[in-house]
């Protein structure tokens, strides 16, 4: 028995050394040509709970870097991506961010997914005066002079969507969401907007992360008879909820599910027939009809295979382009203040259309679209306009909040 155990340990050690070797070689491969390139940290997860969403962001970021390099790079230099996997663990994200900044000396990091991962990185980025480009939509109420928030904050999706819903679908809303900070914050603004638009909340419920049993909620929804179900269910719960809604014979004709998170990836997880007829409001859909988007979709599919492309992946893609523009514009790219300053006012033609960086608050002005899901797990776009300016602290909820970027 002892002998056998020894063998196992030996094999285990050998594996560890091998794996470590792999990690090392891939690391040095990307950081090989030092001196004649600008290092960019790319920080997402290949494993763990949120790998489901992060994989696409990683792919899109790396693709953008490749395209920028093929176009001649930035200031005549190539961008060198240094990829790190933080395995869906916020504390690991902080460790890896530190490693990227101090050991690899990257100029900026593109990465982060959950708010937890961003908040874990924030003190590290600030202490070491780095730059983080964060491509996700998030709940707002944060500002750091070292972070570029490229995704939408809740007011950008809701300010136009809620009035549209009350006008076209009805006034009675049932709010559901996963039980953590983002859905709760989104629904707070939804409630305020409903008050302004003569809507009413007939029910509100939150389920633990990862829950996939919705019999009881569907029951409550049937009792409450809302005109609109407003869902901020994320990840795996979303697909399970839409499926069981369908199981119980509810129909999007009378009671559609409206969402600011459900995207193409979720639709393909639940199947086209289940999602058909439900409504989402997002900055980008795969079906957006611009030449930039056609090129993006074609290139992405050619590189990574057919599969749904969603707004988050698109966001990671143009985030990287924004970063390249800022690097081009900044005089001293190693000065975090200058680099972040260079973002202000930048304009870019993203796949979703024109995107501008708000000159004041490190957030971004995006597009606004309403899409109705169809049988092919894609969205038919029925409304398109410019999104309102980002309000990290919603003016509705915090009319007198002192804006930290004005200090």
């Amino acid at each position: 028995m002892k002998k056998w155990l020894g063998k196992v340990i030996a094999v285990g050690l050998a594996c560890t050394v091998l794996l470590a070797g792999c990690g090392q070689s891939s690391g040095s491969e990307s950081g090989g040509s030092e001196g004649d390139g600008i290092k960019i940290g790319v920080l997402f997860s290949d494993s763990g709970v949120t790998a489901m969403g992060e994989k696409g962001l990683k792919n899109a970021t790396l693709m953008a870097i490749e395209e920028i390099n093929a176009d001649g790079g930035v200031k005549g230099q190539q961008l060198i991506p240094v990829y790190e996997d933080y395995a869906s663990d916020p504390s690991m994200a902080a460790t890896k961010a530190k490693k990227l900044l101090l050991q690899d000396n990257v100029t900026a990091i593109v990465g982060g997914y959950t708010s937890a991962s961003r908040q874990a990185m924030l003190p590290i980025i600030e202490q070491n005066d780095g730059v983080l480009v964060y491509p996700m939509s998030y709940e707002g109420e944060e500002y750091s002079k070292n972070i570029m928030y490229v995704g939408p904050v809740p007011n950008q999706g809701l300010e136009q969507f809620i009035p549209w819903l009350t006008e076209n679908k009805g006034k009675k809303f049932f709010l559901i969401g996963s039980d953590y900070v983002f859905p709760v914050q989104v629904n707070k603004q939804v409630k305020e907007l409903l008050k302004l638009n003569g809507g009413e909340v007939v029910g509100e419920d939150y389920v633990p992360m990862g829950q996939s049993e919705f019999a009881s909620i569907v029951n409550k929804i049937k009792e409450a008879q809302p005109d609109v179900i407003f869902s901020v269910l994320v990840a795996e719960s979303a697909a399970a909820f839409y499926k069981q809604y369908d199981n119980y014979g509810l129909s999007p004709d009378t009671m559609p599910i409206a969402s600011v998170v459900t995207n193409e990836t979720d639709l393909s997880a639940m199947g086209g027939e289940v999602g058909e007829g439900h409504i989402s409001a997002l900055p980008y859909f795969q079906t957006v009809d611009t030449p930039e988007n056609k090129e993006f979709v074609t290139n992405y599919h050619a590189k990574y295979g057919e599969g749904p492309i969603d707004t988050l992946m698109q966001s990671a893609y143009y985030s990287t382009y924004l970063l390249a523009d800022a690097l081009e514009k900044a005089e001293d790219i190693n000065d975090a203040g200058q680099l972040i300053g260079a973002f202000a006012g930048l304009e870019i033609m993203a796949p979703e259309g024109e995107v501008t960086v708000d000159p004041e608050n490190n957030h971004v002005k995006l597009n606004f679209r309403i899409g109705v899901a169809n049988k092919d797990a894609q969205f038919d776009i029925i409304e398109e306009s410019e999104a309102p300016a980002p309000e990290p602290w919603s003016k509705l909820l915090f009319p007198d909040h002192e804006e930290p970027w004005k200090k």
Partner: protein, 285 residues
């Protein structure tokens, strides 16, 4: 609130719990293996169902059969390669199977990608009795769970294989002395439990989500059902799932989703404190 509907839904939730806990009732209940990869066996069953019914477009029943075979093979391999070497060492088993669960998750993620997959519903429509509305799919799950319990009971108590399984689980060294090939029985028992778990995954795929991380959500519920009902008792697992399912469903009326979970967990803690052998363990000796 429509209480009749809540009770009906409670039954369907009980059916789901029974389905996911039945395999564990064998591997944990009978064999005493703490299998942390139990959820991943459910996931493998669900992915098999995705491959057969969505990709290959074959009937759902084929998917169920395939899920049993595939997960039984995975279970047999797990038993032969790892678990067999750790009998009588629960702590090491726990760590090793936790490792297996991560390996299986990542393997599926590499093969199928990290995004969720869809399996379409083979039983559209619903049964309507007065104000109570039960989708055929859920009805099927309950019926199927009961059928699986009966089959399992038959295998365990009416066949020679079942007798050997019980013999080995009660006294391994004595069975060895009597010339029973215990390693072979262990492997088959574990494979049988794994196969049952795989079928559960296949049947739940159209109702729930299919993703690499899905198994984690089922793991805790399965263990709680088995422990609450009484470890090692098939009847206990069945009754345990009814108690858990109904309690959870009825409590959501008052406590909301998160609240109901908390109250159910508290109830289980209290039960284990005062009845550590579980609610329905029948003492024999």
């Amino acid at each position: 609130m429509n209480i009749a509907q809540q009770i009906a839904d409670g039954i369907s939730v009980s059916g789901i719990l029974l389905l996911i806990a039945l395999g564990l009732g064998i591997t944990f209940g009978v064999m005493k293996v703490i299998n942390m990869a139990h959820g991943e066996l459910i996931m493998i069953g669900a992915y098999t169902s995705y491959v057969i019914s969505t990709l290959a477009d074959l009937p759902f029943i084929v998917a169920m059969a395939a899920a049993f075979v595939v997960t039984a093979i995975v279970g047999a391999l797990m038993e032969v390669l790892i678990i067999r070497r750790l009998y009588g060492r629960p702590l090491e088993t726990l760590l090793a199977t936790f490792g297996i669960s991560i390996i299986l998750q990542q393997l599926v993620r590499i093969i199928f990608g990290p995004a969720g997959k869809s399996v379409s519903n083979p039983f559209n429509g619903a049964l309507n009795i007065g104000s109570v509305y039960i989708p055929y799919l859920r009805l099927f799950i309950v019926g199927f769970a009961i059928m699986l319990v009966l089959i399992t009971a038959y295998v365990l108590f009416r066949t020679k294989f079942g007798m050997l399984v019980r013999t080995v689980s009660q006294n391994r060294s004595m069975s060895d002395c009597l010339g029973i090939n215990t390693p072979r029985i262990d492997m088959l028992t574990f494979a049988f439990g794994a196969g049952l778990t795989g079928i559960a995954g296949a049947v739940l795929a159209p109702l729930k989500n299919v993703a690499p991380t899905m198994g984690m959500d089922y793991l805790i519920d399965s263990f709680m059902t088995v422990v609450l009902g009484g470890v090692g008792s098939l009847l206990g697992t069945s009754l345990g799932s009814i108690v858990m399912g109904e309690a959870n469903q009825l409590l959501t009326v008052f406590g909301g989703e998160t609240g109901a979970k908390i109250i159910v967990f508290l109830l289980v803690i209290i039960v284990i404190r005062y009845k550590p052998e579980g609610l329905f363990k029948i003492e024999r000796r």
